[in-house]
């Protein structure tokens, strides 16, 4: 049976009138790598600080191992934080930094020595024990910060954008390293990031947040393949979101009349809420659609002019301009010849189950009132 280490129960945080975190509910299981993902200002760091105890929730509870710790100060909570800028103690050696937690808990010095060296072994920094933090590289400081937190064997490790300060190469290496360390120590990691690639690569589950609200919680593939909201669809990976209205349904597929004028047939998926007349958006992942030069008749499918073809190494990126001026992005295998050239009339095709329908219209994709009127008039 799954055991929850951290449970957030209707957690909210307000700063005056500004609601930073709005009624967040989720539980993190023992040994889980859990990411909170969202753009800056979405409330993910505030949520993390409430778990650590640096912020007091305005309402709701933080439950740690079944005990409500909402009012417990940070130094009495059995969780540890890895800060964004590491904040190693500059006047202490690596050893003393890592030993800080155990010594605070009045551990016997011989035990401190043993557990610190063990943890430095895990992060592969044994030889650096006598050094000062200023003598280490960014990646090494990062690992000291990890060791300093992990040496206490907390119930959960909270990481606040821990890789943000590293350069790309090092960040990729540290992603793998973090995963390895997490498996080795078996502690739950709660990881805050604005980098969707990072979250997808490392996490067991992701909570996508926006404007203080959790939009969706799920495994990386759930979130990528079946986003719950338009925000998630747009934030994770890239997505072509085409607004339209459901005109008919046959139980398996939906026929959607798009804003651009044509109709498309899309698999209905698990969502049964769509009826004729529902305002929906069709999500097409760029890598799931193919360009073709054959233009379907009777206004079916999506058609536009190929404006750009960008070679990107393993893939090529095609940009189509649609009838109403919006752009559609299509990513294809760069090794295969593209049947169209820039300037050609092009349409895209996809396998039956590659389209995905979401409720609502994106507010930024040009679904202006006039367009909406046009769609409704067309019905």
């Amino acid at each position: 049976m799954r055991k929850d280490v951290i449970e957030l129960d209707h957690l909210s945080k307000c700063y005056g009138d500004y609601v930073a975190v709005n009624d967040v509910n989720f539980a993190i299981a023992s040994g889980e790598f859990f990411a909170m993902l969202g753009p800056s200002g979405c409330g993910k760091t505030t949520t993390l600080k409430m778990i650590a105890g640096f912020e007091q929730p305005t309402s709701g509870r933080v439950v740690l191992d079944g005990v409500d710790v909402s009012a417990v100060p940070p130094y009495k909570r059995n969780v540890n934080t890895v800060f964004q800028q590491y904040v190693l103690f500059p006047h202490m050696s690596v050893f003393d930094n890592v030993a800080f937690g155990p010594r605070s808990r009045k551990t016997k010095e011989s035990d401190v020595r043993r557990s610190v060296m063990e943890m430095l072994e895990v992060v592969r920094l044994v030889d650096f024990a006598p050094r000062k933090p200023s003598q280490l590289s960014g990646g090494q400081q990062q690992r000291v910060a990890l060791a300093r937190a992990l040496v206490n064997y907390p119930r959960a490790l909270l990481l606040d954008e821990p890789l943000a300060a590293l350069d790309l190469k090092l960040r990729e290496a540290m992603q793998i390293e973090l995963k390895r360390i997490q498996r080795e120590v078996g502690i739950s990691f709660v990881f805050v990031t604005h980098d969707q690639g990072e979250a997808l690569t490392m996490s067991d589950r992701i909570a996508v947040m926006s404007q203080g609200v959790v939009e969706q919680i799920g495994t990386p593939s759930e979130i990528y393949r079946s986003p719950a909201t338009l925000f998630v669809a747009g934030f994770i990976g890239s997505a072509n979101l085409l607004p339209g209205v459901v005109t008919s349904t046959d139980g398996v597929d939906l026929v959607v009349k798009l804003e651009i004028g044509s109709t498309v047939k899309v698999a209905k998926g698990d969502n049964d809420n769509f009826v004729v007349g529902s305002k929906v958006s069709v999500m097409l992942r760029p890598e799931r659609i193919r360009p073709t030069s054959s233009i379907p008749a009777n206004g079916e499918g999506i058609e536009g002019i190929l404006t750009d073809l960008v070679f990107q190494g393993p893939t090529a990126r095609l940009i189509l301009r649609l009838a109403n001026g919006t752009e559609l992005i299509c990513i294809t295998d760069a090794w295969r010849d593209t049947p169209v050239q820039p300037g050609d009339r092009t349409s895209v095709t996809w396998e039956r189950d590659c389209g995905y329908v979401l409720a609502g219209w994106p507010d930024r994709a040009g679904a202006t009132t006039t367009n909406v009127d046009q769609i409704e008039a067309a019905l």
């Binding site: 105890g53 640096f54 130094y75 904040v87 006047h91 800080f100 206490n152």
Partner: protein
């Protein structure tokens, strides 16, 4: 100009730039000390001036025509020159004179002349007759330094960590009184603490006089003319010199370090002891030097707030120089004061020096 001669000269300059630069500085400052301390007289004086000018100008000319390499190597010496020469004329020469006078004798008590005679008895006199004043100087300065730490540290801490948007206003409030002259402020204190002044009156009304007498803060019903008044004056006058360096070192501390310590099971007290305090020690160190050194040589506070029983060595030196006209003994006292402060500071630096934190 003969370029064939100049080319090897340039190379030589490049190779020996350090020797040339350092040599020029040493020769120039020796000349200045010789002039300032009166080593040479009569006909030799213009010669020394000539050498000095030649060396200074020579160095500049070498920098100008010596080519890029010589310029790069000699430029630091050129930049050091004004500072070194200033020190030679206004520090080394006077110190030399002081030491020389301290070993001189006066032909008679009322004479203003003195002759150099290896008169070590001046030092004996300094120690024998002015031991009490030396003791006062160091004890008062030390107590005042400790008090400035005790007052300044919490104040700096509050301003740095709790000041918020009022930080600069609070710092301004600390510094504003010091826009008034040092002397005026000290004299103001002598009014505040005067026997018929407001402070003594309030103490009488509240009935704290007895307690203050027991604590040796008051003496015979007086606040003024006590060691406490002198120490209080020193503490007041040197507080900003303690507060500002401590504030600067506290201000630099990332509050996330305290958060991290809290996160690692440390209470606020332990976080302060293990993180904030050690990281602010360089500020305390700088503050103690800036306070203790001038306080030990101070004579203004003892003069206006003290009595003949609280005279500090600064007062005695001033007295010997300006009233008794006893330059040899005054010089010996000044020399002893300088050497003892220097050695105390040296010991202090060795014991508590925080070189690796600075």
């Amino acid at each position: 100009m003969n370029t064939t001669l100049l080319v090897p000269a340039r190379q030589r300059v490049g190779r020996n730039a350090d020797r040339v630069g350092l040599g020029a500085l040493i020769v120039a400052s020796t000349c200045l000390v010789a002039l300032g301390a009166g080593w040479v007289g009569g006909a030799f004086r213009p010669v020394v001036v000539l050498v000095l000018v030649a060396v200074v100008v020579g160095l500049l000319v070498l920098v100008a025509i010596g080519g890029p390499q010589a310029r790069r190597l000699l430029a630091p010496y050129g930049l050091l020159q004004p500072g070194i020469l200033w020190l030679a004329l206004f520090f080394l020469a006077p110190v030399w004179s002081l030491l020389r006078i301290s070993l001189s004798t006066k032909p008679s008590r009322f004479s203003v002349d003195y002759t150099f005679s290896w008169a070590f008895e001046n030092y004996t006199t300094a120690f024998r007759d002015f031991g009490k004043q030396f003791e006062h100087a160091f004890v008062y300065a030390a107590v005042a330094t400790v008090l400035t730490v005790l007052i300044g540290y919490p104040l700096a801490y509050v301003i740095a960590f709790r000041g918020g948007k009022y930080k600069n206003i609070l710092l301004g409030l600390v510094v504003i009184p010091f826009f008034t002259s040092y002397l005026i402020r000290t004299i103001a204190w002598s009014t505040i603490l005067a026997d018929r002044g407001p402070t003594v009156a309030i103490l009488h009304n509240v009935g704290l006089v007895r307690l203050f007498e027991v604590l040796h803060i008051m003496n015979n019903g007086q606040l003024l003319n006590t060691p406490a008044a002198v120490i209080g004056g020193l503490t007041y006058n040197f507080l900003p010199f303690m507060l500002l360096p401590i504030y600067v070192s506290l201000e630099k501390i990332d509050t996330n370090l305290v958060n991290a310590a809290n996160d690692l099971y440390s209470s606020s007290v332990r976080a302060f002891r293990k993180i904030v305090l050690p990281l602010s020690i360089p500020g305390v160190f700088a503050g103690t030097l800036l306070t203790f050194i001038p306080a030990a040589g101070d004579f203004v506070n003892a003069q206006f707030l003290g009595s003949p029983n609280t005279t500090m060595i600064g007062n005695s030196i001033q007295d010997q120089f300006l009233k008794q006209n006893n330059y040899p003994v005054a010089s010996a006292m000044a020399a002893v004061l300088m050497v003892s402060i220097a050695s105390l500071v040296l010991i202090y630096t060795r014991l508590f020096g925080t070189g690796d934190l600075a």
